[in-house]
């Protein structure tokens, strides 16, 4: 096989890895700060995709419309789920984590049918914005420009989160609240408000992921269930709460899938789980996590 083919495979693995990262980044952020497992993350991703579809249609499929959609749709979805956090999740912080797991699972299952009620049962595809309807030549082969855009957006989102958490005053408060919520509260910070905003940011990232995927692949209601599991796997491989770990884990899974499919095409769906099992057996705390035991 030529080098070009391999590089091409690498790029397609990078694209899917970036999608995995976008779904998992919000989850790992929420997990790191709020210490809860948000099963609804896949549902947020799915709603992000569908909302993006609606807005792109509304704006008539223009370039400007696409950018406006990317601005509006994820924020709307994030607001919706922040509200859910306030109403449903707040009262369970510090209690049995199984309750939060269940509530978010319930929310995910409900959003699954909600999207079918609103958008119907047929697979939908958002129109590709005109400016991305091209390919770029990479080593003599056409590569969709949109995939390149997605990869760049993935890195952008990564740096955005990193910047917000490590270089802003709000990020400092978030890190303090993640480290010791009682002490932070004692110093006069409204920890619950911080948690809600972090949850909102996490939801925004997942919705952004969904919105970015919308023009690329067909969307169905069950895409959220798949995505939710992928996000969990990425987060656990990464080490709970680690953002660079999530990027690396998503990258690894994307590459293993891209190259594994060349070797064993039948078992493509199993590769992710194999990586997960191997990592958890060798390093139960994940790649970047701290050993707790």
């Amino acid at each position: 096989m030529a080098v070009g083919d391999l590089f091409f495979q690498f790029l397609s693995g990078l694209t899917s890895g970036m999608i995995f990262f976008l779904i998992a980044a919000g989850l790992t952020l929420i997990l790191g700060v709020l210490k809860i497992m948000n099963f609804a993350q896949g549902g947020i991703y799915m709603l992000g995709a569908y909302t993006c579809y609606t807005f792109i249609k509304l704006f008539g499929g223009t370039n400007l419309g696409f950018w406006l959609t990317l601005l509006i749709a994820p924020i709307l979805v994030a607001l919706f789920f922040s509200l859910m956090e306030v109403v449903l999740l707040r009262r369970f912080y510090g209690k049995n984590p199984l309750y939060v797991l269940l509530i978010t699972y319930g929310v995910m299952v409900a959003t699954y049918d909600m999207s079918r009620m609103i958008w119907g049962w047929i697979i939908k595809t958002a129109p590709m914005p005109p400016m991305f309807c091209r390919s770029v030549e990479i080593i003599g082969r056409p590569f969709p420009l949109y995939n390149l855009f997605l990869i760049i957006m993935g890195f952008l989102v990564f740096f955005l989160i990193w910047f917000v958490i490590h270089r802003t005053a709000w990020g400092k408060t978030v890190r303090a609240a993640a480290d010791d919520r009682e002490m932070t509260a004692a110093l006069g910070t409204n920890v619950l408000a911080v948690f809600t905003s972090v949850f909102g940011l996490g939801a925004w990232i997942a919705a952004m992921g969904g919105a970015l995927v919308a023009p690329m692949a067909g969307m169905a209601a069950d895409m959220g269930i798949e995505a939710g599991i992928v996000a969990f796997i990425v987060v656990v491989i990464a080490g709970l709460g680690s953002l660079p770990g999530a990027l690396l884990a998503a990258f690894i899974i994307g590459q293993v899938q891209a190259f594994g499919i060349l070797v064993l095409p039948e078992l493509a769906i199993a590769f992710m789980y194999m990586v997960l099992i191997i990592v958890l057996i060798v390093r139960p705390w994940g790649l970047f996590g701290r050993p707790i035991k």
């Binding site: 199984l98 509530i103 319930g106 796997i233 789980y273 997960l276 099992i277």
Partner: protein, 326 residues
């Protein structure tokens, strides 16, 4: 806490406990024994399904409720149980009895390596690792066409003539369910079963009292897989078919939900949860396509208002009333 003497298993002890537990138990058994005489076929079919799912949920509760470990890969043992029955009878042409015994045994054997690696972890890591193993089994069943029939599954499983009719199959499943429940009851009330609860509450202390925590949890995991294998084989025979989707992680998640819905801390909790959810699914699906939406809302409502599950809720109410009376 291990209660000396209390946990000793002998016939009088078990009988005393069964008798003192509840007169309702006897009423329930008699009710379900005469149940198929009047009702239409569809009801019998539905009840058999409830029995099977209840057994599956009970087996899951051995890990989740008693052991305190949230497992999301339990459905793979359910699935394996079904596949073993199907393949033993259709590919190896072994008699029905052999297949029925092999199903739980092979499910339990599979649980040894899975448990070996998973049991070391707790909480969310345990959940995800069991999920990973479960999904791996699902993926193999889904894609290995020459061995498992792939996503078409295996259909047309032969069934002995005696169990052909739904009424006789109802009694077959019913008897197996009762036997399994008695076994599970005995296990849960044995020193072994109480040790599992002690480990859930305080693993260090159990270690200090000289017991091997890890061995107990692994054995518990394997026993749970054994019962899940029985449930899976019964489901395969009910449908005369087995599909990889039996092993998909959402099946485990729904079973976890049933346990919590019914109440983790009550023996019959998972049965009640399984019955409510299975029957609701059946009836809601008649009126709307959006069963999942109803289920999602139901989960939220139960967690918000009845965190102890339906049985826990009722128990609390009864206790509260009694307390007031006194």
């Amino acid at each position: 806490m291990i209660q000396e003497g209390e946990g000793r298993l002998n016939i009088t002890n078990i009988w005393r406990r069964l008798r003192t537990t509840n007169i309702w138990l006897l009423i329930a058994v008699v009710f379900f024994a005469v149940f198929p005489i009047w009702v239409p076929v569809m009801w019998k079919h539905l009840m058999v399904e409830v029995f099977i799912v209840a057994l599956f949920a009970m087996s899951l509760n051995m890990i989740l409720g008693r052991g305190g470990l949230p497992t999301f890969g339990h459905a793979c043992f359910y699935c394996v149980g079904g596949y073993v029955v199907a393949m033993f009878m259709m590919k190896l042409h072994l008699p029905f009895g052999v297949a029925m015994i092999a199903a739980p045994v092979i499910a339990a054997l599979l649980a040894i390596p899975i448990g070996y690696f998973s049991i070391r972890l707790t909480g969310i890591h345990f959940a995800i690792l069991t999920l990973g193993f479960g999904q791996l089994v699902w993926a193999i069943a889904h894609k290995w066409y020459s061995f498992t029939g792939g996503d078409d599954g295996i259909t047309g499983i032969p069934i002995p003539a005696a169990l052909e009719g739904i009424t006789s199959y109802y009694y077959f499943v019913f008897v197996i369910l009762i036997l399994c429940l008695m076994l599970i009851w005995m296990i849960q009330n044995s020193p072994f079963g109480t040790t599992i609860v002690a480990i859930r509450e305080n693993p260090e202390r159990v270690t200090f009292s000289g017991l091997k925590v890890w061995h107990h949890l692994l054995l518990n995991f394997v026993i749970a897989a054994f019962f899940a294998g029985i449930a899976g084989s019964l489901l395969a025979l009910l449908n005369r078919a087995v599909f990889p989707e039996f092993g998909y992680w959402t099946i485990s998640a729904v079973a976890v939900l049933m346990c919590i819905f019914g109440g983790l801390g009550v023996f019959i909790g998972p049965i009640i949860g399984a019955a409510i959810i299975t029957l609701l699914e059946h009836y809601v699906s008649v009126y709307t396509f959006y069963w999942q939406f109803v289920l999602g809302c139901l989960i939220v409502v139960v967690v918000l208002f009845m965190p102890g599950g339906v049985c826990g809720f009722i128990q609390d109410k009864l206790r509260g009333r009694r307390a007031k009376e006194i």
